[in-house]
């Protein structure tokens, strides 16, 4: 009687271990499925239209040989401008939080960063519309970049703060004892020491905004033509994927699969690169 009870408990334990392993491994399936599907569909696009779809402009429905050059160009410009705006502010914000741990303003700023991290991207889109699009008088790539910059901020601020907090105080004290002024201690000693952590945060934030669509819907808006003017509407890869994927035309679907392959490759490579670098540099967040 007792014996069978123990057997039952052991069996139950093994059952749950097997169940855990099964359920956990099942989580890999969707990602692999998505990767394989997009690789297949994307390479299909490349096979039928060659790599020229990367440099061609979209053509009217029904004509073959269209491309995604405008979206590719637009994505690069929008991400670059967003990074130029967000990275310096984010790093300064992170320095502020790590240098003023006890101040009230830093406490509230930290709380705001937490809040900002959870704000749905569509809400950022609405706010960016009222802050940037309306005053500027129309949809523009710049307003899209500003919206994305707001989304980048929390990641850059937090990673900078966490990295700098881990640096030993003796480092700072040694620099101060040599008579260095505060800004030099920070910019020439502390920030270079935490460089790897800050760079990883920046890379993650770029990967995060590269695929963002919702904040661009009412800001950069999309543009069927090639445009490099940041004050005019601009196409971007995620916007193109959204517009073409929900269209009824097969040629557009093919282009969207090609664009998905490019976007997914970029985002995943950036993530994996960050992982490798953080492992190599032993960065901890």
């Amino acid at each position: 009687m007792v014996h069978s009870n123990i057997k039952f408990r052991l069996g139950k334990s093994i059952f749950f271990q097997v169940l855990t392993v099964l359920l956990a491994s099942a989580c890999v399936v969707p990602l692999v499925a998505i990767l394989l599907y997009i690789l297949g569909a994307g390479f299909n696009t490349i096979r039928t239209s060659g790599f020229s779809f990367l440099v061609n402009l979209p053509k009217p429905v029904g004509e073959t040989g269209g491309g995604i050059a405008n979206a590719l160009m637009g994505s690069i410009i929008i991400i670059l401008v967003a990074s130029i705006i967000a990275i310096p502010i984010g790093i300064l914000g992170g320095i502020f939080l790590s240098e003023n741990k006890k101040s009230k303003v830093a406490y509230w700023a930290g709380l705001c960063i937490d809040i900002l991290q959870g704000v749905p991207s569509i809400v950022i889109g609405i706010v960016a519309y009222f802050w940037f699009v309306k005053p500027m008088g129309g949809f523009s790539a710049l307003s899209g970049s500003l919206a994305l910059a707001i989304m980048m901020l929390p990641i850059v601020v937090r990673s900078t703060e966490e990295t700098l907090k881990l640096l030993p105080d003796s480092l700072r004290e040694a620099a101060f004892s040599l008579g260095m002024p505060f800004h030099r201690v920070i910019l020439k000693v502390i920030v270079p020491c935490g460089f790897s952590g800050i760079i990883s945060g920046v890379m993650l934030s770029v990967a995060r905004i590269a695929g963002e669509t919702a904040p661009l819907l009412f800001t950069a808006f999309g543009n069927p033509y090639l445009s490099t003017d940041v004050l005019r509407p601009m196409q971007s890869l995620p916007l193109l994927i959204f517009n073409y994927a929900t269209s009824p035309y097969n040629e557009w679907h093919d282009l969207a699969w090609g664009a998905s392959l490019i976007l997914l490759t970029f985002v995943l490579l950036l993530n994996i690169l960050t992982k490798i670098l953080t492992n190599k540099w032993k960065v901890q967040f």
């Binding site: 392993v21 956990a24 099942a26 998505i34 914000g93 569509i122 802050w131 669509t213 993530n271």
Partner: protein
Amino acid sequence: MTTETANESNRIRRSHRHIFAENVFRQALFLVGLALIVLILGVMITLAWQSIPSIKEIGLKYLWGKTWDPVSDVYGAFPFLLGTILTSFTALILSIPFSFAVAVFLGEYYPAGWVSNLLKNTIELIAAVPSVIYGFWGLAVLVPMVRGLETALGVNPVGMGIFTSALILAIMIIPYAATLGRTMIQMVPSPLKEAAYSLGATRWEVIKTVIFPYTKSGLFAGVLLSLGRALGETMAVTMVIGNTSILPKNIFSPGNTMASVIANEFAEADHPVYRAALIELGLVLFLVTVVINMFGKHLISRFTHE
């Protein structure tokens, strides 16, 4: 003598410059900190201010009005609230067993080794895939599958709908509860577990009676963060939910969530009350996600500081 005074005055000038630069730098840091606070306050004020026309015109009826008909100027947000709740909670129920399994797998059964490293990295990559790509994949793969399921069940086979969105969301939110749960489970002190083992507990009993109760609040926080993500997710849902403003009848019917209706209609909302009604949805979404995320973060910090 003269060179010495020149040196001296040079040094004084330089240290004045340093002190000046130091103050400017400190002030710049402070301004950035302040700007972060102003940013969030600004978001809140902008949303509240811009939704005033709708709050004035419709009042609280907005929240339980069942018809959303911009053409005849009737705005009731209940179909979207229901759509959001249905998609998010279905997604949560579907994803919790999986994310907890990952958390236990990585936190307790196999904390080290290349297999668990691979699993850990894969799970984190799930969060990195852009949502528009999830939406496109869902449109191409999940919608036909769900259509097949609907035909088998004898429901109207649309394919797009609340259930499909919930499936996509369930995949997307796995990493949030899983990563946090793993960290929490690894923080369980081993003396507690060893005590249970020494009393003759099996591995599962240790997990059930020691690890789960100990990490309860942390696991719950992970679920909250997943929920916050699911509520605000826009693109993937917009692409597969079917986008109708009719009150969903069952879990397979097409619908709209708060985020998806904003994405679909904001750019073409020409009417002030119509636009304000959409922004009010954004305001509700913002407040709900802020509360959920803050509560989750509060639970995490309480757990890690104990």
